[in-house]
């Protein structure tokens, strides 16, 4: 039977934390034409065993969380991105060239254990 983990408050559980970097704060608005900033979201939070069945988790995470309960020396499952999206950047380089470049897997949309 699953040993009930001490109730972890929601805010400590694994989830996506939103963070917007405004290029103006870095002084990069002088050469980046678009976008104005970048969503530097990140994943953070606990993956207790009791929650692995609902936290958008992989089967592996479920097993690792179970092992962690049996033997705490085994680390808990970790909170990682499960859905990412690309960004495009329109900027100007030192030769006055206008460059449009795509970067995949740059923005974290969802997190899971």
């Amino acid at each position: 039977a699953a040993i009930p983990a001490p109730y972890a408050s929601c805010k400590n559980l694994c989830h996506r934390h939103q963070l917007f970097i405004n290029f103006r704060d870095l002084g990069w608005h002088k050469w980046i034409i678009a976008p104005k900033g970048f969503m530097a979201n990140y994943c953070h939070g606990d993956c207790p065993f009791s929650m692995t069945t609902s936290l958008n988790s992989s089967n592996y995470a479920f097993m690792q969380a179970l092992m962690h309960v049996v033997d705490p020396a085994i680390p808990q499952a970790v909170c990682i991105p499960t859905k990412l999206s690309p960004i495009s950047m329109l900027y100007q380089d030192n030769d006055d060239n206008v460059i449009l470049r795509h970067y995949e897997d740059m923005v974290v949309d969802e997190c899971g254990c």
Partner: protein
């Protein structure tokens, strides 16, 4: 110092070796804005997209560059045609394109500016030739090695496009070959004195409004595996 180091790492990730400090922003052509907006819309709506295919241009590629013309106007009475309206050396610096990237498109755009020409009747002929070995610098007298575009357009207006992929590949393979392009605009058809006067006026305004640029698309094989291999 840590922040500077981190900034350097992030710039390297963007493919830059130092923070660009442009003096002024170049005009961004409509097509680049459209491609940017389409990508942003697809990313925010979660629509999956092939980042190595530019559907608006119908070519494979994941980096677009708009290179401004760094050439200069030529004023010499030695040119072939008495009816010559404008001569310009067009030069595009391809050094920003590192050799491992594949060139998939190179489109010359000649923006002749607003159609302010008087309706004079004679046809303007636009001749674009490849300069291969200029004779003498200083009194620059180009020997157009290869006339590879001769387009006769009735009083050209707006933007004219030319496919320069083969030429750009040549230049990219061997930068020494990149001596630029010789652009000459001629006026055809017979003209009376009245028209001649207006013509000088028109050629002067053409020289002021002409804006040339080269749109280059490259494909980075390391970031753009053929889809089958990626699936495997």
């Amino acid at each position: 110092q840590t922040l500077q180091f981190r900034e350097h790492v992030f710039l390297k990730f963007l493919g830059l070796d130092k923070v660009p400090s442009p003096q002024k922003f170049q005009p961004v052509p409509y097509i680049m804005k459209k491609i940017f907006q389409d990508q942003e819309t697809a990313a925010t709506t979660g629509v999956s997209q092939d980042l190595c295919y530019v559907k608006e241009l119908g070519v494979r590629g994941n980096v677009l560059r708009l290179l401004p013309d760094q050439g200069f106007f030529l004023y010499s009475e030695n040119f072939s045609q008495a009816s010559s309206c404008l001569q310009k050396l067009l030069y595009f610096n391809l050094s920003a394109i590192k050799d491992k990237k594949q060139l998939t498109m190179a489109q010359l755009g000649l923006d002749l500016g607003p159609n302010t020409y008087y309706n004079l009747g004679p046809e303007m002929e636009l001749a674009l030739s490849l300069v291969q070995e200029p004779h003498v610098w200083g009194r620059f007298i180009p020997k157009p090695g290869k006339m590879f575009v001769l387009q006769s357009v009735p009083w050209p207006q707006g933007v004219l496009y030319f496919n320069l992929l083969d030429v750009a590949k040549d230049w990219n393979d061997n930068h020494q070959k990149n001596l630029g392009l010789f652009l000459e605009m001629l006026v055809k058809g017979d003209r009376d004195a009245g028209v001649n006067f207006q013509l000088e006026d028109i050629c002067a305004s053409l020289r002021r409004s002409l804006h040339a640029s080269l749109l280059v698309v490259t494909l980075n094989p390391e970031q753009c595996q053929p889809s089958s291999r990626k699936r495997r």
